[in-house]
């Protein structure tokens, strides 16, 4: 204890005297503590979030009981529990010893807006949905509790999966997911810890070097190497304890300050709340003590390993010393050559770097690690944005959003609107947009999509004109001088036919792109002829009129018997008119069932069967556009459809005014202004313009409507209406900027520390050079060169390593099973070259600048 006290005294005395260095050391360790504490707290919050959310949602209960009897797989509507039955079951549960508490949750929904059948029991004024939760008396065995309650009540009980996983009672997949989550957090923690270690090591090097003579004296009067290690270790622990208080306070303050903003960005149902976990403080303190002690190993080794007599003589010591082995004489051709060509400073700088490369190596490593982390962070941000852009815009999309013009608007006015939109915030390009569609029923087309969902009549083939084909024709299409239908007929279609990251049998997304149809270039897609389609429409209307007079109006589709009888009568009538639609009764094609709504499709199919078709040749099959082909599987519409248009049209579905029954099958043009915006600047300007225009021009014959991008995957939409995605992107961007800035700041701190340590270490060398006649300017140039070369090397290594790691991360982690962006147009890897360049210039500049004052002071002593 006496010795420990003595080490503490020695450390405190030194630290009290050299307060600036102590401040640097505490800053470095505090940075480490903040990193560790924040990552541990965030990790714990993430790990506990599911559990806490579930507990909040379930009102502190782990299980819930359902109205499904144990011996049944489904129940009828009349078997659903009434509120009284729920209350009765609640009492029954409360009487069970396995149950600690119960909670009957009631959700009231306005009966006007809710469907009673779907939402549960419909009361007098409100629709009520109920859930009966209960908490287990023994939380250590939820499964047993579930079984006993099921046995006692005869109804099915479910355990909340999140709670079970948190309590270590989840299934294998839950446990694996949790283990994977823990591993990921540990990995991030380890990365931060390594970075922190480098920072601490570089910061602690300077005080150790400055006290080298003191250590020599201590060792001379009998301090052993072990004692020296202990003394430095004690100092490290003391500094870490002080830093832990500061770091956890600052770290928690930062997290709390960001909490509201994070919740705003994430828009979660249950907001994230950062708790002050005592264990996080202990873990981060212990981790930082470990990191500090490990970081101190090198400086301590230097202090303990140097020869006492050399130190006391004020001899050379530093990051690396000679091994004492005989060195083969070198000719130093490079340094001599550089010296002759560029001056003596070059020669000395290169010689110094080759003879004593220690601190240059550390400078290089420090810069490389920082640039590496910076690259990874910014590459992550840019790749995320690019992925979202790609998923919303596609590679063959001409526009990602459209302002559509409803009503009668002149071409001149459209041009005017186009100019205004082009000037809105973030709009990168805009242009006249004309969407047309071809829509037909054809079983043969469906047959070419063999893997369409069984039992579903949703298959949608996305056929379109490449935008290049449409260029130049736009204005003619808009003003009506070019007939869209004729244009398509004359040219043919381009089929986008690849599905990106198709889902396998178990619903997991694969990384393979697969074809959806077996169409080949040169094949033709048959569609009902215009004449036949017009006849179908006419006959269909006639049929409706006839049936209304003889049978009455179409019955409610919920009444299956009446609907069937009505359908049969309609079919019998149509059969007499040459449409044998009865053969399509109960087929999955065209929706099945007995809806007259689908009858028109059946009539069209009959016309196609009778050969009343026209054929569109497939000019090309586009496979490099995963975005568009994703729609083949994902976009839904009733019936088999063929869309022939500018691909942008697919972004937002059917043009205004077009519905399944009233549209012409060969296309109907809709006018609009298509545009693409930089999603970072996706503000309200366009929406404001549209709103303002419509308010101010109520009496005009046309109005504007804004439609945002839609990939067919709701979570990947963006635009003014897609607040969640925009907020998430904002969170990614701002977090990335904060982390990037932090990394840069730490990098600069390191550069300063390493440079100062290096100059201190070489104090005698500078004095000697000064005495020999080297000017301060020459000396500065020499030091600049040394640092400049090391720093440049560090920048190159860091940037290259960052590139490799970012690429690997995107390729291997994010793309695995579709990654976080499952079902989108693929994950793009973007290298943020200009941010890296900016960071490199900043680091390089400060690297040269750092130590300027330090060198001046040392030399002038």
């Amino acid at each position: 204890m006496n010795r420990l006290g003595y080490y503490v005294t020695l450390s405190l005395r030194y630290r009290n005297k050299h307060r600036l260095q102590t401040l640097y050391s505490i800053m470095a360790i505090t940075i480490a503590v903040i990193l560790c504490f924040c990552s541990i707290t965030v990790g714990m919050t993430i790990m506990n979030y599911g559990y806490e959310t579930a507990m909040k949602h379930n009102h502190g209960c782990e299980l819930w009981i359902t109205e499904m009897p144990l011996n049944k797989d489904s129940i009828d509507g009349d078997e659903e529990w009434t509120p009284e039955q729920y209350k009765s079951m609640q009492k029954k549960l409360e009487a069970l010893p396995e149950v600690r508490k119960t909670y009957l949750d009631k959700i009231y929904v306005d009966s006007d807006s809710a469907d009673g059948d779907e939402w549960g029991y419909q009361g007098k004024n409100k629709t009520v949905s109920m859930e009966l939760y209960f908490a287990a008396a023994d939380r250590s065995d939820l499964k047993s509790c579930k079984e006993k309650v099921e046995e006692a009540t005869g109804y099915r009980v479910y355990i909340d999966a999140e709670i079970a996983a948190h309590l270590g009672q989840g299934d294998d997949i839950d446990s694996m997911n949790q283990a994977a989550g823990n591993a990921l957090i540990a990995l991030i923690g380890a990365l931060f810890a390594s970075f922190a270690m480098l920072v601490i090591r570089n910061t602690m090097m300077l005080p150790v070097l400055e006290r080298m003579k003191e250590y020599g004296v201590l060792r001379c009067v009998g301090m052993s190497k072990g004692q020296l290690y202990c003394m430095l270790g004690t100092e490290g622990i003391l500094l870490t304890l002080v830093s832990t208080i500061l770091g956890t306070g600052v770290g928690f303050g930062l997290l709390k300050a960001c909490q509201g903003w994070i919740n705003d960005c994430l828009m979660l149902d249950v907001p994230v709340e950062f708790h002050f976990y005592a264990s996080a403080v202990v873990y981060s303190c212990l981790l930082c003590i470990g990191v500090t002690l490990f970081a101190l190993l090198e400086p301590a080794r230097q202090a303990a390993g140097s020869s006492i007599q050399e130190i006391l003589r004020g001899g050379e010591y530093g990051i690396r010393k000679g091994s004492g082995k005989k060195i083969k004489p070198k000719k130093h051709r490079t340094s001599h050559g550089l010296g002759r060509l560029l001056g003596i400073e070059w020669e000395y700088a290169v010689r110094n770097m080759s003879r004593n490369p220690g601190s240059q190596i550390y400078l290089c490593i420090g810069v490389a690690v920082s640039l590496f982390l910076f690259s990874v962070v910014f590459s992550g941000i840019e790749s995320t944005y690019a992925t979202v852009e790609n998923s919303t815009q596609g590679t063959h999309q001409e526009y990602s959003e459209v302002v559509q013009i409803y009503g009668d608007c002149s071409t001149k006015k459209i041009e005017e609107i186009n100019k205004t939109i082009a000037g809105c915030s973030g709009v990168q390009k805009s242009g006249l947009f004309l969407a047309g569609s071809m829509f037909t029923m054809n079983n043969d087309v469906a047959a070419h999509i063999p893997e369409r969902e069984e039992g579903s009549f949703i298959f949608f083939s996305d056929v379109g004109y490449d935008e290049k084909h449409l260029k130049g024709m736009k204005s003619r299409l808009v003003d009506g001088t070019l007939d869209y239908r004729k244009m398509v007929q004359q040219n043919g279609v381009i089929l986008c036919d690849y599905q990106y990251n198709k889902k396998d049998d178990e619903g997991n997304t694969t990384t393979e792109d697969t074809r959806v149809t077996d169409y080949k270039v040169g094949d033709t897609i048959e569609m009902i002829s215009p004449e036949a389609e017009r006849k179908v429409t006419k006959d269909f209307d006639k049929m409706l009129t006839k049936l209304e007079k003889t049978v009455g109006k179409e019955p409610d589709s919920g009444d299956t018997k009446k609907a069937k009888a009505y359908w049969k009568k309609a079919a019998a009538y149509l059969d007499t008119r040459g449409y044998p639609v009865e053969k399509y009764e109960n087929t999955s094609v065209f929706g099945g069932g007995y809806s007259i709504f689908n009858m028109k499709y059946a009539m069209q199919q009959c016309a196609i069967d009778a050969g009343k078709v026209i054929r569109f040749p497939i000019l090309a099959i586009v496979k490099e556009d995963p975005y568009n082909s994703a729609l083949i599987d994902g976009c839904s519409s009733i019936g088999a459809g063929l869309i022939m248009a500018d691909q942008t049209m697919m972004k937002w579905g059917m043009p205004y005014g077009m519905s399944m029954l009233d549209t012409l099958p060969y296309g109907k043009c809709s006018k609009g202004i298509g545009f693409v915006r930089d999603i970072r600047k996706s503000k309200k300007d366009v929406a404001d313009y549209v709103k303002k225009w419509n308010e101010e021009s109520e009496n005009n014959s046309y109005e504007l409507g804004q439609m945002v991008g839609d990939t067919g995957y709701a979570d990947m939409e963006f635009g003014d209406d897609n607040v969640v995605l925009n907020h998430s992107l904002e969170l990614v961007r701002k977090t990335g900027l904060a982390v990037g800035g932090f990394i840069l700041a730490v990098c600069l701190l390191q550069i300063f520390n390493i440079t100062a340590a290096n100059i201190t270490m070489r104090r005698k060398e500078f004095w000697l050079l000064r005495a020999a006649g080297m000017s301060l300017k020459q000396m500065q140039k020499m030091v600049y060169l040394e640092k400049g070369i090391s720093c440049l090397l560090g920048i190159i290594i860091g940037a290259l390593a960052g590139y490799g790691a970012s690429w690997l991360m995107v390729e291997r982690i994010m793309n695995q099973d579709g990654g976080a962006f499952d079902g989108t147009g693929g994950i793009l890897f973007i290298w943020p070259w200009w941010q890296i360049l900016l960071a490199a210039v900043l680091v390089y500049g400060l690297c040269l600048f750092a130590g300027r004052g330090h060198l001046r002071r040392e030399v002038k002593q």
């Binding site: 006496n2 005297k17 003191e214 201590l218 001379c220 004020g314």
Partner: protein
């Protein structure tokens, strides 16, 4: 056996073809309470010998016996450190005080490193002998050169060592302070019954010793006893200075 026995001590720096023999089979012995001066030209091996005696360096050959026990040369570093702080006191030309510790704390250093508290009476006695009672709480930067060296002597005596090694102890001091330091060292030898080995190239200092061992190129070229009294030594120094 003598108090200190040095046998065939050899120290070679470098390896293979690139070697320098700093000490070449040096042997001598020193009796308890003896004051020995080691002299020689620069590079003759004086400081190397002192560092070897102080277990701060390792010889290639030879051994050192202190109080009939073989010293810890060649043993592990921790053991050598303990030996050094308990048996040996060092005084250097450049004082080598810890700047953040005051006079009293600098003196106590070897005892504290041993995990002990210094006997307050002994500390008082030392401070009194060294003339530092009034300066006990001063930091080294607040002391003169002579005072600093006195603190260094105090530190060397703190653990009551049996052997005191001094490397050019007056090298950085003016005449008056040099005298005081030498007087103190001699007084310490007598008062605490120490053996003192001083490395010096100053003949006047050497003449104050009981014996003078002269080294040249790492070899003992003479080992002669000096007959005198302390006053005579001091007079000799005075005379030298007056002559200079």
């Amino acid at each position: 056996m003598a108090f200190l026995e040095v046998k065939d001590l050899t120290r070679i720096y470098g390896k293979k073809d690139n070697t320098l023999t700093a000490l070449d089979h040096v042997s001598f012995s020193v009796e308890k309470g003896e004051f020995v001066a080691i002299t020689g030209a620069s590079g003759s091996g004086k400081s190397t010998l002192l560092h070897l005696l102080g277990t701060m360096d390792e010889p290639q050959e030879g051994s050192v016996f202190l109080e009939e026990e073989e010293s810890v040369l060649g043993q592990r570093e921790a053991k050598r450190s303990v030996f050094r702080r308990r048996k040996i006191g060092f005084v250097f030309q450049e004082y080598n005080l810890v700047p953040v510790l005051n006079v009293e704390e600098n003196i106590q250093m070897p005892v504290r490193l041993d995990g002990k508290r210094m006997d307050p009476q002994y500390l008082e006695q030392l401070l009194k002998i060294l003339g530092l009672t009034d300066r006990r709480y001063h930091l080294p930067e607040e002391l003169s050169g002579g005072q600093k060296q006195r603190v260094a002597i105090g530190r060397a005596l703190a653990n009551r060592p049996s052997l005191l090694l001094a490397d050019e102890p007056t090298g950085n001091l003016d005449h008056q302070n040099g005298l005081e330091v030498m007087s103190l060292l001699k007084r310490s030898v007598e008062e605490f019954c120490l053996t003192l080995i001083v490395v010096t190239h100053d003949p006047a200092i050497a003449s104050m010793a009981d014996r003078v061992i002269t080294l040249s190129d790492g070899v003992v070229i003479s080992d002669a006893k000096v007959k005198h009294a302390l006053s005579a030594d001091v007079s000799a120094m005075d005379g030298r200075d007056a002559h200079e």
